[in-house]
């Protein structure tokens, strides 16, 4: 009993409050699962819809992307998929890149690229939805 308490001066509540060394607890894990669940119906909808658009001309694509329910679903898909993708690639970089400088640079480039490409994609959808 005395020996056990000496292993750590911190009680479980204090440990949980600190949320571990990275100070984020299960946030990364949870966000990856949350976006995964959202992407199950969104992906099936997108793939089957885009397959139905095979060989579509510009006017047809613009009409599809810009229609209200499609535009909303596309924005949701883009947000969820870029969020999910950068979380996943982050783990791969952290697992395989051992040089700290290269790892940090790769993570910064990844995060910036995901946000920039995601915002650009959403902008394109909104521009078509609002007839710009």
């Amino acid at each position: 009993m005395a020996g056990k308490t000496m292993q750590s001066m911190r009680n479980p509540l204090a440990r949980v409050r600190g949320l571990g060394s990275a100070k984020e607890g299960v946030h990364h894990w949870w966000a990856q699962r949350l976006t995964a669940i959202a992407l199950v119906p969104l992906t099936i909808w997108f793939v089957m819809s885009i397959a139905g658009l095979a060989g579509v001309d510009h006017a047809g694509a613009v009409a599809w992307i810009g229609s209200a329910p499609v535009a909303v679903l596309l924005v949701l898909l883009i947000a969820a998929v870029y969020w999910h993708a950068q979380l996943g690639v982050q783990v791969v970089i952290e697992d395989y890149v051992h040089n700290e400088a290269v790892k940090l640079t790769a993570l910064i480039v990844l995060k910036f690229a995901a946000i920039a490409l995601g915002v650009a994609s959403i902008f394109a959808v909104l521009r078509l939805a609002f007839g710009g």
Binding site: H58, A85, G88, S121
Partner: protein, 128 residues
């Protein structure tokens, strides 16, 4: 046991590939490939917003043999990652860890991902 006598984790060059390990690394590999493939989605959307000329360039690329190869690979990778991702979500919920269940769900992923890919391309062929 001293540190240098401890058993090593599976040595990839001599360890017999199993359905479980192949699906596991495939999940990560397809995930990375799909992340790169998102560039294609963004390019397609930006081109559609930019106008008919830009859109024709993307459609021309996607209609080439390289475009079809990428689309086919992307579609299968997506369906695989989707099906195996659902398998992972069940594991996260604590379900399906028995060895026979792991193999059955693994084969279900293989069959479902092929079926969904075939369905998507059948829709594309009928629509085109």
């Amino acid at each position: 046991m001293s540190a240098d006598r401890r058993p090593l984790s599976p040595h990839l060059q001599i360890y017999k590939p199993q359905l479980t390990s192949v699906l596991s690394i495939s999940h990560r590999a397809t995930g990375v490939g799909l992340a790169a493939g998102l560039l294609l989605l963004t390019w397609w959307l930006l081109a559609a917003a930019a106008g008919p000329d830009s859109f024709a360039v993307v459609q021309g690329f996607l209609g080439s043999w390289l475009g079809y190869l990428i689309l086919f690979g992307f579609s299968y990778a997506l369906m695989f990652h989707l099906c195996n991702g659902v398998r992972h979500l069940f594991w996260d919920a604590g379900w399906g860890f028995e060895l026979d269940t792991v193999y059955r769900s693994g084969w279900a992923v293989v069959i479902a991902s092929v079926a969904l890919t075939v369905l998507a391309w059948a829709i594309a062929i009928v629509s085109a």
